[in-house]
Amino acid sequence: MAENVLRLEDVTMQFGGVVAVNGFSMEVNKNEIVALIGPNGAGKTTAFNCITSVYEPTNGRILLNNEVIAENHPQGKMKDLYKGENKGKYTKVVKFTPDRITRRGIARTFQNIRLFKALTVFDNVMIAKHMRAKQNIFTATFRLNAKEEKRMQEETMVLLKEQNLDLYKDHIASSLPYGLQRRLEIARALATEPSLLLLDEPAAGMNPQETQELADFIKQIREQYRITILLIEHHMDLVMQISERVYVLDFGKLISSGTPDEVQNDQKVIDAYLGVVEDAED
């Protein structure tokens, strides 16, 4: 049986009266590429934010490598306000912070790129290496960590070379063209040495050729780093080409899941989503 890396169980995220994600369950297995699709506002980014502990789900449970990393049930004011499903199914509360999630091996990129804008390309990646370094503030200040610092620099250069960013190493991150900024964000995420990589609309704003390159690149990093990838994407051709399984969200609810072919031919998906995209693209 396939090994579960990530499992969401009945995850609900309610903001005030808005239920952004509703009773959403999904599984991601080791070394898979899984896509999460759905129209705008369907709750995909919110699901990512729950997985990475940016938000605390209102109800439900999330497991990473069979360890609970988030669990909650409606409390306080939410008890009366709660409009989601599976009320009363969960009783425990488990909370993490985003940095601890990253430490446990989930790295992510953001839908609206979040680089350290005023810093160099090189420093952007170096910062991601800080978490796994053994130095402390004393050894780092007085340069007693020279060996480790050198190793971090070398690994950073390797990552930048792989992304063809080595020529830009001293450039300020915000001065890079859009496509390169996306690549830098992926390089930075990989620098945290993740086992699961979450990509939020990595092809947004890319032309067909760039999108194709990205598809090859995602497959390549999966092999090279032996990681699992969960991506949110709007480009259907990209999703169909690289993902092994697809989950479809609409208004916060899972409406379909399966292989790309199965999903593509599901009438509910066509109604809710594919029709919209094709309209938009025509």
């Binding site: 990475t52 940016v54 912070t97 985003p98 940095d99 990253t102 430490r103 790295a107 992510r108 953001f110 979040r114 680089l115 350290f116 804008k117 005023a118 810093l119 420093d123 170096m126 910062i127 991601a128 290496k129 800080h130 978490m131 796994r132 370094a133 130095q135 503030i137 780092a140 200040t141 007085f142 340069r143 960590n145 610092e149 971090m152 930075r188 945290t192």
Partner: protein, 394 residues
Amino acid sequence: MNKNNSSKITAAVLLILLFGLVIFLEQVIRPTDEWAMLLSCLRMGSVYALVAVSMNLLNGFTGLFSLGQAGFMLIGAYTYAIFSIPLDLKDSVYTFYDYSVKISFPEVLGNVFGGFGMITGVLVSIILAGIITAMAAFLIGLPVLRLRSDYLAIATLGFAEIIRAVFLWGRLGPVTNGSNPLRRFTRTSDFTMDVGNTTLTLGTTTIMIIAAACIFVIILLVNSSYGRVFKAIREDEIAAEAMGINLYKHKQLSFCISSFFTGVGGALLAIFMGTVMASNFMAAMTYEFLLIIVLGGIGSISGSVVGAMLFVFASQWWLRWLDSGIITLFGTRYILPNTIFRSGFRLVVFSVIIMCVVLFFRRGLMGDKELPYYWNKLKSRIMARKPKAGESNG
């Protein structure tokens, strides 16, 4: 690499020359000379530079806005003073109280190891001042640094006001001397060294060296992995957290280190002022440092140093004549009409100058760049000019 090393050597040589010059000036300038103002401004300027750089570490590099500088300096100054008054002089200082701190580090170590021991004792007191200040910061940070950044400004400003009242409180008199000043601790004029049959005065040099050493440590920190993380937090907290950075831990580190050096700055202030009184550490002092880092450039360490020196020299010395109406140019004394040249006019002119600087240098004198950057720019501009001259000849 080579280029990097050679510029480091140049910087080191320049610094040694600078300190040599200060030592020389300190021997030839008598306290009654008009030029004694130069030494006094150098002392105050270095202390202000240190505190401004510490403030910049927090505001400019970590993006945390703290307004507690006066309060932290107060703690540093008092800690230094309390632990540096010789025991036999304590009764004459604590006239209304039975003093409770029965140790003086400069005295104890000075009795055993002589002049060298005295200096070591001073350093012990200074480091203690830094540590106690950092501990105070840690306690403030404990609740506040978990919240949004804006709360830090309010909390530290409030803390600075409260701490002043606490130090003036009669109940703490045996430690703080209540509302009476602390005096007679080791101060600038005590830093002398006998060489043969002459006595070298080294007060200004000592203060400058300690301040410079602290600034050097901050520069090392800012350029280390931790410095990069501080900048990452300034740039984008959410992204920093997604990179596995524990926001609270690193903010607390930056806050405590900044406060440590602010406390050291307070101790140095005590050394050159000679007396310490809680009521002098007003919020206005904090705004002076804020002004300095904005003037010098937020995120530029050399900017803070230059800003502090300009601020101190202008406000304490160069603009003095605006208040007194007396100006000496090439040995001739001019008396200006006292209708406008009277007490307070200096501040008016000073404010106008600062407004002009802010108008013309939106991001401060140096932006977020350091001196070597401008030096290299100047060099390359000169280099670029030479071949052009050749062209026009040919």
